[in-house]
Amino acid sequence: MRIVRALGAALLALGWAVSPAVADSPSPSPSDDSAAPTEAGTSFRTAAEFEPGQTATADGSAGDYLYWSFPADAGQRPTVEATVKLPDTHAAQTWQIDVYDGLRRRQACQYGSQTRTAAQGAASVELACTLRRVRAWSEPWANDPLPGTYYIRLTAVGLPTSDLGLPVSAEVRVEGKEIGGAAAVDGALAEPLVPGVAVKPEAEQEDSAVLSSIEPEDGWTSGWWSDRWVWTAVGGALAALAGVGGYALTRGSGRPTRA
C-alpha cells in the first residue's frame, strides 16, 4: 500500500490532477477539543450527538435507556465501545448496546461483545460493537450501513428489581477505522441518512430543534475519490512501460544488426 501511495505521489508530480481529490478524502483525525456531551438522550429524538474520537459520558440510573448519536461516513468501519460503571453493591446485571442507522434500522455487529453480564458486585462492564464498513450506496432492499447518523442505545436488559434505579455512569467512544478503496462502491446517496434532512432547509429559525444536526468534522465525503484511481492509473502506466519493454525485446538493441 505504501508503494502505491508513493507511486501516487509520483503521479502527482507528473501533473495529474489528484491534489484537489486528496483534500477531499476523509481523514479520521480525532478531536477532543470540542466539548463531548456529558448527558445522554432518552430516545432517538433526544439522542446526544458526539463526534468519533470523543468520549461521551452520562450519569443515569440502572434501567434508563441512554441514547447517543454519531456520524459515520462512507469508507469507515466504526467501532463503538461503552463502559458502564456500576455502584458498589448490586446483583448480577446484563447490559447491552444496540446500534441503529439513520433509518432506525438495527445494525449488526461484526465483532465485539454487544451484551455482557456483570457479576454481582463487579465495578464495571465493558461492551463493544464493530459495525460493517459503511458504503456510499446500496440497494434499497439491503440494510447495509450507509453514510449518515448512527444511534447508540445503551441499557440494562437483565435487571433484578432490587437494582432498578441505582446510579450508574456510562462512557461511550466511537473509533472510525478507514477501510480505504477496498470499500469504495459505485453510486452515492444525494443526502446522507440523517433524519429530518429534508426538513432542515425550510426551518430557518436560529434555535430551531432538528432531529439530527450531525455532520463529520470535515463534512460528508463527496464520494468520488478513492485509492482505486491510483491503482488504476499506476496499472495503466505499468502496462505502458511493459508494452515499451515488450516492443524493445523484439527490436534487440534498437539498431538493426545488419544495415
Binding site: 433509518l103 453510486g187 508494452g243
Partner: protein, 423 residues
C-alpha cells in the same frame, strides 16, 4: 388534546410550509422555541413517612428541601417551573379526604426563586400518599403551550390510595398525546415502590431513579430540569387508517400516532420521479408487553404491489422497536402528460407486540414516524466506484497485457520491415 396540538402545529407550520394547498396535518417539525417555553412540574411527596431520618443522617423531608433549594438556584431561565405537593395538608385518618390531598405549592410559570424557596420552607411531613390524583392534577397544571412538558415525581412510599393505580394514571396521561414525560425518584425505596415508580416512568418514556443520598437527589433533579430545557422536535399528531385509500397524505417531517395491538396503520406519501422516500417507524412499549415483539413497515403501491419493506424483531426488555426503509423512485424517461407526475406510496405499519396478562390494550402503543423525501441517489452502474480496479491482480493483468501488446507490435513491425525489404 390531539386537535389542540394539530392546531398549534398548523400555526407553527406557517413559516416552514411551502403551503402547497394540502391542509393539516401535512407539515411537521414544529419549532417549539417559537411556541412556548419548556415546563416542569416538581411533585413532592410530603406524606408522614417523610419524617424518617435515613438520608445522610437527616430526615427525608430535610433532604428534599435542601435538594429543592439547590435545584431552584440552578434552574435555567427559560424553564417554567411549578411545585405541587401531595399529602401536605390533611393529617387525619379519613382515607377519602386524605386521598384528595394534593395542592399546588407554586404555580407553573416564570420562576421567582425567593418566593419558591419560601414556599418550600413551609412544608412539613403530614398525610397520605395519593400519587395518582397528584399526577392527574400535575398534568393539568402543565396544560397549554407546545413546549416540552415534564413531571418530576419525588416520593418515599408507594401509593396508599388504591384502587386508582398511579401507573394506569400515567398511561392515561401518556395517551392524551400531549408529549408529557414523567420522571420518578424514589427515596430509600423498597421493592414494591421501585416497581410502581418505574412503571409510572416507563409508561411515559421517563426514567426512574433510586435515591439514597441528598447529592444524588440534587444532581438527578437538576439533570431532569436541564433535560426539559433541551430543544426537542415536537412531532405532529396524525391518524393512520385501516386502508390506504383513506390514509392521510404525509410530507417530510416527524409524526406521531397510536396503534392498537393487532391493528394496522396506513399512510400515504407522494414521491416525484427522481426523489427518494425515507421512512422510519418506532413503536414504543409504554406498558407491560410480552417479551417477543416485532415491527413491519411496508411501502406498497396504490395497486397493492410491495415495493420494499423494513422489518425488525426482538425479545427481552425494550423501550422501542424500530425499522425503516428507502425507496428511490427512478427518473422518468418518457414524459407522458397523461400519467400523474408523483407516485403515491402507501406505507403500512404493523407491530407484533402483545400485551401481558391484565394489561389494558387501549389506547394503542405510541408510534413515531419519520418521513424524509430527498433527491434520489446517483445510481450504481458497477460494483466498484466508477468501475475502477484495485489490487495486485489488476496490476499483473495490465502489465501482462501491455507486455504482450508490445511484443506483438514489435514482431508485427519487424515482419512488415522484412516484407518491405524483400520487395
Amino acid at each position: 388534546m390531539i386537535t389542540r396540538q394539530r392546531l398549534a402545529a398548523g400555526a407553527s407550520a406557517l413559516f416552514a410550509a411551502l403551503a402547497a394547498g394540502i391542509a393539516l396535518p401535512s407539515t411537521a417539525l414544529a419549532d417549539e422555541t417559537t411556541a412556548a417555553a419548556p415546563k416542569v412540574n416538581l411533585v413532592l411527596d410530603v406524606s408522614g413517612s417523610m419524617r424518617a431520618r435515613d438520608i445522610d443522617g437527616q430526615s427525608r423531608m430535610a433532604a428534599a428541601k435542601q435538594a429543592f433549594n439547590e435545584v431552584l438556584d440552578a434552574t435555567p431561565e427559560d424553564v417554567q417551573l411549578g411545585i405541587r405537593t401531595l399529602g401536605a395538608n390533611y393529617p387525619g385518618d379519613d382515607r377519602k379526604t386524605g386521598c384528595k390531598d394534593t395542592a399546588q405549592l407554586y404555580p407553573v410559570g416564570p420562576l421567582d426563586r425567593t418566593e419558591a424557596k419560601a414556599a418550600v420552607a413551609t412544608l412539613a411531613p403530614t398525610g397520605w400518599t395519593p400519587i395518582g390524583p397528584a399526577l392527574l392534577k400535575a398534568a393539568d397544571d402543565l396544560d397549554g403551550g407546545t413546549g416540552s412538558k415534564r413531571i418530576v415525581l419525588i416520593s418515599d412510599g408507594e401509593d396508599t390510595c388504591a384502587p386508582l393505580d398511579p401507573c394506569e394514571v400515567a398511561r392515561e396521561i401518556a395517551a392524551k398525546g400531549i408529549g408529557l414525560t414523567i420522571d420518578t425518584l424514589g427515596l430509600v425505596p423498597n421493592t414494591k415502590m421501585r416497581q410502581q415508580l418505574s412503571c409510572i416512568a416507563e409508561a411515559t418514556g421517563g426514567t426512574y431513579t433510586s435515591v439514597e443520598h441528598t447529592d444524588e437527589l440534587t444532581d438527578r433533579v437538576n439533570q431532569l430540569v436541564d433535560r426539559a430545557a433541551d430543544p426537542v422536535v415536537t412531532p405532529v399528531a396524525t391518524e393512520g387508517t385501516e386502508r390506504c385509500a383513506q390514509a392521510p397524505t404525509l410530507r417530510s417531517g416527524l409524526y406521531t400516532d397510536r396503534e392498537e395491538f393487532g391493528q394496522q396503520r396506513w399512510y400515504r406519501v407522494d414521491v416525484l420521479p427522481g426523489q427518494e422516500l425515507r421512512a422510519s417507524v418506532s413503536v414504543s412499549a409504554d406498558r407491560d408487553v410480552n417479551p417477543a415483539y416485532g415491527v413491519l413497515l411496508r411501502a406498497v403501491t396504490v395497486k397493492g404491489r410491495e415495493i420494499v419493506r423494513g422489518e425488525a424483531a426482538g425479545n427481552g426488555r425494550t423501550d422501542v422497536i424500530s425499522t425503516g426503509l428507502r425507496h428511490p423512485k427512478a427518473e422518468r424517461d418518457d414524459v407522458d402528460a397523461d400519467k400523474p407526475a408523483a407516485e403515491t406510496v402507501c406505507l403500512q405499519v404493523t407491530h407484533s407486540f402483545s400485551a401481558a396478562a391484565g394489561v389494558k390494550t387501549t389506547p394503542g402503543l405510541p408510534l413515531e414516524l419519520t418521513i424524509d423525501v430527498v433527491d434520489g441517489p446517483s445510481p450504481s452502474s458497477d460494483v466498484a466506484a466508477f468501475g475502477l480496479g484495485r489490487g495486485w491482480w489488476l496490476l499483473g493483468a495490465l502489465v501482462l497485457t501491455g507486455f504482450v501488446a508490445g511484443l506483438l507490435w514489435g514482431w508485427l513491425s519487424r515482419w512488415r520491415v522484412a516484407v518491405w525489404r524483400t520487395n
